[in-house]
C-alpha cells in the first residue's frame, strides 16, 4: 500500500508548476558577469485603516524597474472577492499572480460553501502559499475586507507571517505613511476622516519616498458596498514646459551680429564652373 501511495506522488520530468531548470544556468551567467534585467517592482506605499463602518485601503500608483519608472499609473489594489480587496507591494508579477490565484480560490470556496467569503479564508490561503515558497515569491500585502464577523485588516509578509491590526502600512514608503497614521489615528473614525487620513499617509509616502509616486488610489469597503476612487487625488502633476525650443523655418546660426548681409538666392549671377 505504501508503495502505491509513493508511486502516486512520484514526480516525473514533465511535472507542472515552477520549473527550476534554468537556475543553474542563471547562476553561472551571473558569475560570469552578465547583468540580468531587474524585476518590475512596486516600491510602494500601501496602507489600510479600519473605520467605524468598514475598511479604507489606499495605495500610490508608481511601478519601478530598477531606478526607472515603468508605469505611472499602475493598479495596486487588487480584487479578491466582492467584499475583500488586497493591496500589493514587492515584485509586481508576484503580487498580481498571487492575488489572482487567491481570488479564484475564494470564488471556488464560495461556490462550494454557498456563503460569502471571509477575510480569514483568503488570509490563510495567502499565508500558506507564501510560506511554501519561503519568501522567494516577493509579495508584501495589505488585505482588508468586511465579512459576517465585521471589518478586518491584515498584513501579509513575503515569508508568510501575518498581523491583524487596526491600521497598517507596507512598502518602501511605509515608514512615512506610518508616521502619519501614528499621529492621526483614532478609534471610531468616520468615513471622511478615514479617507483623509489615508490620503495624507499615501501623500507622505509619495513625497518622501522615491519608490512611490503619481496618484493616490483609495478603496472604501463597507458592508454591502465597495467604492473605488482611481485616482482619489493626483499628487505628482507633470509641469508645463516653461520655454519653447522649436525654431521657425529658415533659422540659421548668426555668426556676426554687426554685419548682416541680406542674401537672396534668386539674385546670384557670378558663378565659375571649374573644368578639369
Amino acid at each position: 500500500m505504501a508503495a502505491v501511495v509513493d508511486q502516486m506522488f512520484k514526480v516525473t520530468e514533465d511535472s507542472k508548476g515552477f520549473s527550476f531548470d534554468n537556475c543553474r544556468r542563471n547562476a553561472f551567467m551571473s558569475k560570469q558577469g552578465v547583468t540580468f534585467p531587474s524585476a518590475r517592482k512596486t516600491g510602494t506605499t500601501i496602507v489600510g485603516v479600519i473605520f467605524n463602518e468598514g475598511v479604507v485601503l489606499g495605495a500610490d500608483t508608481r511601478a519601478t524597474g530598477g531606478s526607472i519608472v515603468c508605469d505611472l499609473n499602475c493598479e495596486k489594489i487588487h480584487y479578491i472577492a466582492d467584499n475583500i480587496y488586497c493591496c500589493g507591494a514587492g515584485t509586481a508579477a508576484d503580487t498580481e499572480f498571487t492575488t489572482k490565484m487567491v481570488s479564484s480560490k475564494m470564488e471556488l470556496l464560495k461556490l462550494r460553501t454557498g456563503r460569502e467569503g471571509r477575510v480569514v479564508s483568503s488570509l490563510r490561503m495567502l499565508k500558506q502559499y507564501l510560506f511554501r515558497y519561503q519568501g522567494h515569491v516577493s509579495a508584501a500585502l495589505v488585505l482588508g475586507g468586511v465579512d459576517v464577523t465585521g471589518p478586518a485588516l491584515y498584513t501579509v509578509y513575503p515569508h508568510g507571517s501575518t498581523d491583524k491590526l487596526p491600521y497598517v502600512t507596507m512598502g518602501s514608503g511605509s515608514l512615512a505613511a506610518m508616521s502619519v497614521f501614528e499621529d492621526g489615528y483614532k478609534v471610531g473614525l468616520n468615513e471622511e476622516a478615514a479617507k483623509k487620513l489615508v490620503r495624507d499617509a499615501i501623500r507622505a509616502g509619495i513625497v518622501n519616498d522615491l519608490g512611490s509616486g503619481s496618484n493616490v488610489d483609495i478603496t472604501v469597503i463597507k458592508k454591502g458596498s465597495v467604492e473605488q476612487f482611481r485616482p482619489y487625488e493626483v499628487i505628482c502633476q507633470k509641469s508645463e514646459r516653461q520655454g519653447d525650443y522649436t525654431f521657425p523655418r529658415g533659422t540659421t546660426v548668426v555668426t556676426n551680429t554687426t554685419e548682416i548681409v541680406p542674401f537672396s538666392v534668386l539674385e546670384v549671377t557670378d558663378e565659375e564652373v571649374m573644368e578639369l
Partner: protein, 162 residues
C-alpha cells in the same frame, strides 16, 4: 503505529526521489536525457527544488498525522486505503488515468495551485509513453495505437486500423 503518523514539519526535510532516466541495459540514455554531470546531480538547482518535489507527499503526511490525532488510529488507515484503491482505478493499460475519484477524495478538484497557472500542459502536448509497446500481448487488438495526445485536458488516442 504512533511513529508512523506523527505530523512532519511544514518545510519538507526529506531527500529527493528523482532518479536519472536509464535507457537500455541500465545505462543513461544520452540522446534523450543529455550528458551526465555528477556534480550537478548532487547539488541543488534552487533552494526550493527539494521542498517542491516533496511538497505533496509532505502535505499528505501532515493530513494523516492530523487525522490520527482527531479521529484515532483507524482514520489515517481508512484514508490511505481509499487513496490506494482510487489510485488503481484506470483506463486501458498504457493510457494515463484521469484519477477522478482520487481528486474528489483529496479535494484537489475544487482547488487551484501554481500548477494550474504555470506550465499547464498545452494543446497537442504528447505523452511520454510509447503506447503500443506498453500494451500486454494477450490483448486482442486489430489496430495499433500510434500516438496519445493531450487535447483540451483530454487524452486523445490516435489509432491506426489494420
Amino acid at each position: 503505529m504512533n511513529q508512523q503518523f506523527s505530523i512532519p514539519t511544514l518545510r519538507p526535510a526529506a531527500i529527493s526521489r528523482v532518479t536519472t532516466e536509464t535507457g537500455a541495459f541500465g545505462v543513461v540514455d544520452t540522446l534523450r536525457s543529455g550528458f551526465v554531470n555528477t556534480r550537478s546531480e548532487m547539488t541543488a538547482k534552487h533552494p526550493l527544488e527539494q521542498s517542491e518535489l516533496m511538497y505533496e507527499l509532505n502535505e499528505h503526511k501532515i493530513k494523516l498525522g492530523m487525522a490520527y490525532k482527531i479521529g484515532g488510529a483507524a482514520l489515517p488507515l481508512t484514508i490511505q486505503a481509499e487513496r490506494a484503491s482510487a489510485a488503481r482505478i484506470g483506463r486501458l493499460p498504457g493510457i494515463k488515468s484521469s484519477y477522478l475519484h482520487l481528486e474528489v477524495f483529496a479535494g484537489t478538484d475544487e482547488d487551484l495551485t501554481i500548477e494550474d497557472v504555470s506550465r499547464v500542459p498545452r494543446l497537442g502536448m504528447r505523452c511520454q509513453s510509447i503506447p503500443d509497446a506498453t500494451l500486454p500481448h494477450n490483448y486482442e487488438f486489430n489496430s495499433i495505437i500510434i500516438d496519445i495526445v493531450i487535447f483540451e485536458n483530454i487524452e486523445l488516442i490516435i489509432i491506426f486500423e489494420i
